[in-house]
Symmetry: C2
Subunit: 316 residues, 2 copies
């Protein structure tokens, strides 16, 4: 499947951000929003966002070049005409998803991929009965996708493997970082991660352990400086000379204590340790971990300097 023409339905924060992702990748993008006011203000809104993110353009490109690839259409039908890839970005209501995917079914041919940017609903909840269901897939980003690369790709059991493969490769081609969600679960994985951290922050706040400012600082002046460069698992890999296996064998009980406190079984098990060892040792051998620690430390220092340069716009 060659993807060159994109249609986007819904022009809110996510829809207009996806338009930027696609247009700056050299693709033609047609956007439809059922609200005429949203349509009339859209090109100006996108133009401003393009100006602010021009550092991420391909070499030599200008806002005008990228903007020229985007059109706003007055009907869904016009937007979908000739589209290879449709990205639904409308309101997060199950009934609305059902309605618009029935429209997609009626208005698109068998070669068109039908993606939803839903953050909550697996495709099976709204497209199971449609003839087009093999072409339907979740493509859910972090917000906003034109700045944050990670993007969840969650096929339904009935999604065609070729549709999954083409979507995954397409996201890579657009400079995103696609991740494969292997089973359909409500809210997928990305939002679960954020919620797990936020819930614990709320708990500490509600128990009076810390102020809101202080619990934020734990991340923005602490772990966030590491996590900008390293996922938490590969970060843990650097905490012992023997890598993540040694760390978890020594300190995995801390995570199991937390899991047990939350009512779960142990999460650090021989199986999960083996998985994580395979993952980390394929990245970098044990005898080079010191090199990675030095790289991490230099990266954190560079980030601290960047943060000093950026300053703050807060009043206090």
């Amino acid at each position: 499947m060659t993807i060159t023409n994109i249609a986007i339905a819904g022009s809110g924060i996510i829809g207009s951000s996806w338009a930027i992702v696609y247009a700056r990748s050299g693709l033609d993008v047609a956007v439809y929003d059922r609200n005429p006011e949203n349509r009339s203000g859209l090109m100006a809104k996108i133009s401003k966002a393009l100006d602010q993110s021009s550092a991420l353009f391909a070499a030599g490109e200008t806002t005008a070049d990228v903007l020229a690839r985007i059109t706003v259409q007055d009907s869904l039908e016009a937007a979908l005409a000739g589209a290879d890839f449709v990205h639904e970005c409308i309101e997060e209501k199950l009934e609305s998803k059902k309605t618009i995917f029935a429209e997609f079914d009626r208005l698109t041919g068998p070669g068109t991929i039908l993606a939803t940017t839903t953050s909550s609903f697996p495709v099976s909840q709204f497209a199971s009965d449609l003839a087009c269901r093999e072409r339907c897939i979740v493509v859910h980003p972090a917000t906003p996708p034109h700045l944050l690369p990670v993007t969840e790709i969650c096929p339904a059991p009935f999604t065609g493997p070729d549709v999954f493969d083409a979507t995954f490769r397409f996201m890579e081609r657009c400079g995103q970082t696609p991740i494969h969600i292997r089973k359909e679960i409500p809210s997928f994985v990305l939002n679960r991660m954020q919620a797990a951290l936020l819930v614990e922050m709320f708990r500490c706040l509600n128990e009076g352990l810390v102020s809101p400012a202080d619990v934020d600082k734990i991340i923005s002046q602490g772990f966030g400086l590491r996590w900008a460069f390293l996922g938490p698992f590969e970060g843990v890999d650097l905490n012992s000379a023997g890598g993540i296996r040694q760390y978890l064998e020594n300190f995995g009980f801390l995570f199991n204590n937390m899991a047990n406190e939350l009512g779960f079984e142990d999460v650090v098990t021989p199986q999960s340790i083996a998985l994580l060892e395979d993952y980390t040792r394929a990245k970098i051998p044990l005898d080079s971990l010191g090199e990675k620690v030095a790289w991490r430390d230099q990266s954190i220092i560079a980030l601290r300097r960047l943060k000093e340069e950026r300053g703050t716009v807060d009043r206090t």
Copy 2:
């Protein structure tokens, strides 16, 4: 209390990192480790770490300047002599903490603050019966403290308010970001945050939802780019035109769903919303939120460019 002379007991990753924090702040630091091998290798180890972090030195300072303020002592007594602030950084065992704090009690005078870098044990668990208990306080950093500023300060109920105040101001003076843990709980708050996220990552991994690499990317190619600059709460504040109050009134149920799934009561309540509104609106008024969003976006773009420059040392 004027703090100019520091003693550190224990020269592992954390102890030697604290030595760097203090010495580069212009303070004299005496380090003792009960293991002679650790002592003999210490200056070379610290010298290397200083070379690698010289970007964080005060203007005009060299590794030699900073290193000249650090001495390694052959006895605990020698290290403690004349110290205004003692930082215990020995092994994480309760019995060992008890033993060394009894030594501190015997060897230090009433003007010396006795800090522990423990990640697990509230001071009440090991210093309640000592005459020095008013001078005892937890000062627990993210690892390593010479790179990550956030530092938990947790007094015991019997810790002197002047000891708390002096310790807090001292950390600020050393360029750290102290946060006040208001009640003694095992493992404090910092490690709970990390564990909450890691446990959810393990759960998604163990349920076969994602690969280890993909769950790491959710952070390092997603939320981590925001959290490098903004705590999660102030990040959420930017997700609605009406700030965090509006966001939580509309979407707080997502966090409550997660909390309920974990067996907790609702975490988003009128009380927590009010707390967070006070916090965020003191930072920046609603009509300036757009300015902060633009600042965030430019910061993320600058970080993405930094990450490109830094590359990776991974083999795959």
